[in-house]
Amino acid sequence: MSANTTNSSKRRMDCDRVAREEILESYLGGRLSEEDRDAFEEHYFECARCFDELQTIQAIRGELRRAGAEGFEAKSTRPFFGWVPAAGLAAAVLLAVGVWLWMRPLSPSGPPEPTRSQPPSRAQLPEKPGPPGPEPTVTPEPSLDQLARVEPPPYEPVTLRGAPDAATARFQRGMEGYRNADYRGAVADLRAAAELDPDAAHILFFLGISHLMLGQDNAAIDRLRATIALGDSAYLEDAHLYLAKAFLGRKDFAAAETQLKKLIQLGGSSSGEARRLLRQVERLKKRSD
């Protein structure tokens, strides 16, 4: 998109001036004169670039206000949390803590292993770091089954105005099933949605997860690979992570390691988690050799 100029106001407003005078921040902060405000508004009605940046900076403000400067730990930056309102996020955190308590290794001097119920399907959240201090040498390592378990990323529906298009309608219906753990129903609808919109990363990703929850590893791998093949999207990191889990489910250590290494290379918020999992996989592989 080429730089635009809006000439109708007294002072010329164009993309260069917007950047040079930090007009976007001043507009959002209510610090522009009436004349400049009008000129900028007229400008962004014709300029895709400036309007896009305006929306992004507004989203940055919103996220900083919501989370504060310190609220961007690895878990909170996971893309699927973008779909989760505060209550859902709290539930996810509680679930993660619960699973960590269930999964954490026994310390020789620690409390007895808590009573637990078997989680459904292959549920397991990614490993949480243990408490600080030296690791006891007798700490039991997680088993392959434990490492391969997955917890479906939470999803909260969004409300759209007006009638959704066909792909969105099928996606919404599929995600209704997904939320109710009806993964079979979810697969049927999400597959239809993916046929209507084959380049939608969110559809492919949740379709892959649904297959994974049904234990349909091959289909899950195909869909997660397709999500990755779309390139850098909001679901890229998670697609690598869940793909690694799918390979672990098939006891394909090498393929799982490849996915985890790719995830680490991305250098995103999940790389620490990927490193931990990779170390565990490598130790597990040594033990099984």
Partner: protein
């Protein structure tokens, strides 16, 4: 007039060139339904943003946006737009007029208030695109140095000047200014890059 999903999409493009604007106006004058949908898709997110900026009222934003798009479509159908190549300016002018009408009926005029980030995000129409933008912003912010995030927070949310931030963080004003500009640029560019997939 129903605003279809995706109306507020962040990939929505505006017809930059006068000929494109003129062609779209002409298609609407010819009663081409697809052209009306295109108009709504191209402009409704901008109108919504503008109404929120001026009124800070989410309910009003939805209603006024609807009214603006309806008024524009009616005017175009009737051929009331003389300079069809200035369609974007016409939409903006219509929006401004209807916003002013709305504000006149209200007792208070919050035009001097800054846009409330939380309010805005909470009130923007939900869509897959908006959710994805927020997710990408979160990811991009997560990749920043924590001091840079603090500088952005103090600048964008609390509205502090570089000198005030410098005192709080034990830096110089110049360093704050530079780091703020770089952090903002880095974040917006990362979001842009991620959004292209």
């Amino acid at each position: 007039l129903t605003l279809p999903p995706g109306s507020y999409g962040w990939h929505a493009r505006c017809p930059t060139h006068p000929q494109q604007q003129s062609a779209l106006a002409e298609r609407i004058r010819s009663r081409e339904p697809a052209a009306e949908e295109e108009l709504v898709r191209l402009f409704s997110d901008r109108v919504m943003f503008l109404v929120l900026a001026r009124t800070r009222d989410p309910e009003a934003a939805r209603d006024v946006t609807q009214d603006v798009m309806l008024a524009v479509v009616r005017a175009l159908r009737e051929g009331h737009l003389r300079e069809e190549e200035r369609l974007a300016a016409f939409v903006y002018g219509t929006a401004r007029n209807l916003i002013n009408n709305y504000l006149r009926t209200r007792s208070r005029l919050p035009r001097e208030d800054p846009i409330d980030a939380g309010l805005h995000l909470a009130s923007m129409p939900d869509s897959v695109e908006n959710s994805e933008r927020v997710a990408l912003v979160r990811r991009a912010l997560g990749a920043l140095d924590s001091t840079d995030r603090k500088i952005l927070l103090l600048t964008l949310v609390e509205g502090l000047k570089p000198g005030e931030i410098a005192v709080r963080l034990g830096l110089t004003s110049e360093v704050v200014r530079t780091r703020k500009s770089r952090a903002l640029k880095k974040t917006t560019e990362r979001v842009k890059r991620l959004s292209r997939r």
